[in-house]
């Protein structure tokens, strides 16, 4: 369990992070310069916050007011650095055994290094130096070095950014397998939303030194709290309309003269709102089934972008559309694109499912 509230001012940057994480895999997701790596360094004790507290499993490792600031090696934190930061002058065994506390007797240390080598499937590389290893092997050594001391919390800083795109996918699954036996808290830092989603159960979105939203990966993806979160999670279609309550107690949004129903929660008071829908949530509807769909709109494809497996369609509304621009960005599978014989200039029926139409809170 990790519980932190910290504050640190730098030149032109103010880090103000609050996090509560249980024994799970959580991801800290944000663009570069958002303060996510800095937060990890602060948890590990390598950067000292100006004020705040950091507790690991209820144990206070930092408390500015009480004057508590445990040294990094006393915090029982395992940190895997972005480029792994292996000791270049030590062998794989040497790197691993450095992760053990000083009190561990020699024979036990040797046993645990052997155990770890086995877990990492690096037995035959024990005497190799880091520069003789592949990227994936280095990552495993870094992970083993961080885990061998049995830390209460494991921090991973962009664990895949140093690797080729081609092997990332495999290594993500490999990492998840190796972490399956680890019982503590895992906090992963990444600027890749897909990676955050794939690895973590909880995602915290951080930008400008602040956590904008934290929740399950589904929540963060489909119920962004504010416009900024929606932008970070790729909601793309961030729209502006006037919201009111309809008789069924759902939201009724008037957008470009169309009435749209939204099922989710919304602002406390009706009025002008921002709302969003993800490009993959907009449905294309076959004309003969159009009558039976909610939030039905007619649009014209003004531009399209083939990306191999899918297409991005940029659609402008036939009624009330913004002339010269597009109103909605839609992601469809290439197969559907083919079946419906879509092309630029074609008119299509669209449906915005009410449970996917999400109202945003005003930015703080």
């Amino acid at each position: 369990m990790l519980d932190l509230a910290l504050d640190r001012r730098f030149k032109g940057f103010h880090l103000q992070t609050h996090l509560q994480i249980g024994d799970e895999i959580a991801a800290l997701y944000g663009p570069s310069g958002s303060g996510k790596s800095l937060t990890l360094l602060a948890i590990a004790g390598l950067v000292r916050p100006t004020s705040g507290t950091i507790r690991i499993n209820g144990r206070t490792v930092f408390d500015a007011k009480a004057g508590i600031n445990l040294a990094p090696h006393q915090r029982r934190v395992g940190l895997v650095f972005q480029e792994y930061a292996l000791f270049p002058h030590k062998t794989v065994s040497g790197n691993l055994s450095f992760g053990l506390a000083r009190g561990v007797p020699t024979h036990e240390a040797a046993c645990r290094v052997d155990e770890m080598l086995q877990l990492l499937r690096l037995q035959s590389f024990a005497q190799h130096y880091p520069h003789q290893l592949s990227g994936g092997q280095r990552q495993r050594v870094a992970l083993g070095r961080a885990l061998i001391g049995r830390p209460e919390i494991l921090l991973l800083d962009e664990p895949f950014s140093a690797l080729d795109l081609a092997i990332r996918e495999t290594l993500r699954q490999e990492l998840l397998q190796m972490l399956a036996d680890y019982k503590g808290t895992i906090l992963l830092v990444t600027h890749n939303l897909q990676e955050a989603y794939l690895m973590a159960t909880t995602i915290a979105i951080i930008d400008g030194g602040k956590v904008l939203q934290m929740g399950t990966r589904e929540e963060v993806l489909h119920q962004p709290r504010t416009r900024r979160v929606a932008e970070h999670t790729g909601a793309k279609n961030i729209l502006r309309g006037v919201a009111g309550r309809d008789p069924d107690d759902a939201w009724d949004i008037v957008w470009r003269g169309h009435h749209l129903r939204a099922d989710g929660p919304g602002p406390t008071t009706p009025g002008e709102v921002e709302f969003c829908i993800r490009p993959e949530d907009v449905r294309l509807v076959w004309p003969e089934r159009a009558e039976r769909r909610d939030n039905l709109l007619r649009g014209r494809i003004v531009h399209e972008l083939g990306r191999g497996l899918d297409y991005l369609l940029f659609v402008s509304l036939v009624d009330g559309g913004d002339r010269g621009k597009y109103d909605l960005e839609i992601q469809v599978r290439s197969r559907l694109h083919h079946l419906m014989t879509l092309h630029v200039g074609k008119e299509v029926w669209l449906s915005l499912p009410p449970d996917r139409l999400h109202l945003l809170q005003p930015d703080e």
């Binding site: 390598l46 990094p72 090696h73 915090r75 395992g78 972005q82 930061a85 000791f87 520069h131």
Partner: protein, 220 residues
């Protein structure tokens, strides 16, 4: 065959060795502070460190003379308190060589410390106390730079002339190092002696450089 006077060479080796050790002990912490420390006056310290490299050796020597001379700030304390006379002894020659060698050593060692990826040291600190990290991570990674600095320091100390002349003089058998002896033999019009000693000096330095080069082959 005329006798090659060996004593200036031996004296030079002794003084240069001691000066190298002194530069190493004094320079390493300064180099580390310059590379890693964040403290007020860092830029000033960095500038002061290189001053002996730029000033004419006679000026550096003159300052030192003012400092350690009989009536100097430090000299008086040493003379009256501890009964140690420094000026015009071999100890003054060691001091002269140390001051001359220090900037070269510090610059080389500082570069070595700066060349270490900070995250490697940070990674170490998450496992072990800072002092252990310094001994088992930082120094092993910086030792080649430190050694290179020591060689430079030794070479500079072997060739020291100006500062030594100012504060230690050129007293045969006591403070007359090889460099000074060669100068004197040229002045005294004894080319054979000058030749012999010059060749000796060159050979000695070359031999040391080759040996050290062999010892510092990269293993990882």
């Amino acid at each position: 065959m005329t006798l090659i006077p060996l004593s200036p060479l031996l004296l030079s080796l002794k003084i240069a060795s001691l000066a190298t050790v002194a530069a190493l002990l004094l320079g390493t912490p300064i180099a580390w502070m310059l590379a890693r420390g964040r403290f007020p006056g860092r830029a000033v310290l960095e500038a002061i460190v290189v001053v002996p490299l730029i000033l004419p050796p006679t000026v550096t020597g003159y300052y030192l003379l003012l400092l350690i001379g009989r009536r100097g700030l430090l000299g008086r304390v040493l003379e009256e308190g501890l009964n140690i006379g420094l000026v015009f002894t071999w100890k003054a020659a060691v001091l002269a060589s140390t001051i001359a060698a220090l900037p070269l050593f510090i610059k080389a060692a500082q570069g070595a410390f700066e060349g270490i990826d900070r995250r490697i040291e940070d990674a170490g600190r998450t496992f072990k106390p800072a002092l252990i990290v310094l001994c088992t991570i930082t120094f092993p990674l910086a030792w080649r730079g430190i050694l290179a600095g020591s060689i430079l320091a030794f070479a500079r100390a072997m060739g020291e002339f100006g500062i030594t002349l100012m504060i230690a003089g050129s007293i045969p058998g006591r403070t007359q190092t090889l460099a000074l002896a060669i100068y004197d033999s040229v002045q005294a019009n004894q080319p054979q002696e000058a030749n012999a000693m010059s060749i000796l000096a060159t050979a000695t330095v070359l031999l040391i450089l080759v040996l050290v080069g062999r010892m510092t082959k990269v293993k990882y």
